[in-house]
Amino acid sequence: MASFTHGNITIEVDEDGFMAQPEKWNNEVALALASTEGVTALSEDHWKLVNYLRDYYTKFGVAPMIRKLCKETGFPLKTVYDLFPSGPAKGACKVAGLPKPTGCV
């Protein structure tokens, strides 16, 4: 398990940079994680996405399917990639502190 430091916080992550202890997630952690995915600041839109992901995950125990995510946040997929250049799975989910999406690659 690696760890990395951003500002004054240190986060345990796996090789892909996903949190090892997701229970430690908070807004600052999110910002730190974002920095690893080409995102320097978290705008309102970023937060909207991140919060949606977290809410959904808390409620259902899974990440939403992309179509649902776009529909319910109102962001077209293009915008999601604009916000998180490495995409909803690798980018947004990571920043939101969700488990690493698996399976279909």
């Binding site: 949190m19 090892a20 202890q21 997701p22 690893t36 995915e37 080409g38 259902f60 125990g61 899974v62 990440a63 250049p85 490495s86 488990p99 690493k100 698996t102 399976g103």
Partner: protein, 363 residues
């Protein structure tokens, strides 16, 4: 990760194929009239215009070093203006217009260790997957078995003396990358023990509902173990498909003692004569015995031999078995028919023999 670089463009797609076609193809595109196979590994396509294109097909291990690819490029430059292609079964084909270049090219390829063949009624390359070289799912290796089996089959690649085409494929797990499920002979990596749940990791690494939903047999259930949210596997309902592992890394099921290989026969995809169909289980389990998997090699060899000796012209493996019946196939191939051969999944009943069309061997 670094910042996106400046020179980057996206969504350009692959280069247009026309850039890569030799002049003879550009000139005769869509105008081919017929083909002949003058010798194993060589196709001669003749156009309505009278133009001829020779394709020389050489074996490839699929996993190739750039050194080899550069060597292929050199040969293409030497013999055919730099034009070559790869086939859907991962062979390499050199596209010639000069028939005098055929023999020297074949000589060079053979010398370099890349035999020429695979055309018409032969065994072509084994379609296969990653195995222990690259995949986390592998219940067996891919390349090692392929090499070991093909070492015994090379004479069926370089000659065209079989009753029909024979396609062998290998997949290192039930995901079956490469669609081995419709092959004359399929070699399949299998597990035989249920996943071992790593209860401490489930919550952080897995979406529990996804893991539960992933099981074809409803063997995965959410459970609280030692106070943490986790998963339990009903072992008696598990048939080791590993789909739960695919979605949840905390459910590993690789096991050196019980993993191994199953052999399947009689599938095909072409529509020639009979319809496409799935391969059926011939041997439920053979052990992983690297580096040369002798049990697997022997079994495949035996099946090929018995087919080659008994099938009629054009009869693919499955057509042949259809004609002689499964009981005789098992007898001829010397394979014991076991409980595992009888389907017990969702459509099992449809595979039972529901008629009196029975054959009896002479005593």
């Amino acid at each position: 990760m670094a910042e996106p670089t400046k020179k980057r463009v996206t969504d350009i797609g692959p280069p247009h194929y026309k850039k890569f076609l030799p002049p003879v193809i550009l000139a005769n595109y869509g105008k081919w009239k017929y083909h002949e196979i003058p010798r194993p590994g060589v196709l001669m396509h003749v156009s309505e215009s009278g133009d001829k294109l020779y394709s020389v097909r050489a074996a490839s291990p699929r996993i190739v070093a750039i050194d080899t690819v550069r060597m292929f490029a050199d040969l293409a430059d030497k013999y055919c203006g730099g034009f070559l292609r790869f086939t859907s079964r991962n062979n390499v084909e050199f596209l010639l217009t000069e028939d005098k270049n055929i023999d020297p090219l074949i000589a060079d390829l053979t010398a370099a260790g890349y035999p020429v063949g695979g055309t018409a009624n032969s065994i072509s390359n084994i379609v296969h997957t990653q195995g222990w070289i690259h995949c986390h799912s592998a219940a067996t290796d891919a390349s090692g078995i392929v090499k070991s089996v093909m070492d015994e089959m090379t004479q069926h690649f370089t000659k065209m003396e079989l009753p029909g085409k024979l396609r062998i494929a290998l997949a290192c797990c039930l995901n079956m990358c490469g669609a081995v499920h419709c092959s004359d002979i399929a070699i399949l990596g299998i597990h035989r023990k249920a996943p071992q749940v790593q209860h401490d990791k489930v919550k952080a690494m897995c979406e529990i509902p996804s893991a539960v939903a992933s099981c074809p047999n409803a063997a995965v259930r959410p459970a609280v173990v030692d106070g943490v949210q986790s998963i339990e596997i009903l072992e008696e309902k598990c048939m080791y498909c590993a789909n739960c592992y695919t979605v949840c890394p905390a459910l590993p099921l690789n096991n050196p003692e019980t993993d191994g290989v199953a052999i399947w026969v009689g599938g095909k995809v072409s529509n020639a004569r009979s319809e496409p169909r799935f391969s059926k289980l011939a041997v439920p389990y053979l052990p992983n015995n690297p580096p040369r998997w002798p049990e697997v090699v022997d079994t495949v060899k035996k099946i090929v031999e018995v087919w080659a000796a008994n099938a009629r012209k054009y009869e693919r493996m499955g057509d042949w078995i259809d004609r002689i019946g499964w009981p005789r196939f098992f007898k001829l191939a010397g394979i014991e028919f076991q409980k595992q051969h009888i389907d017990d999944f969702k459509h099992a009943g449809l595979t039972f023999k529901r008629s009196m069309h029975l054959r009896y061997d002479k005593e």
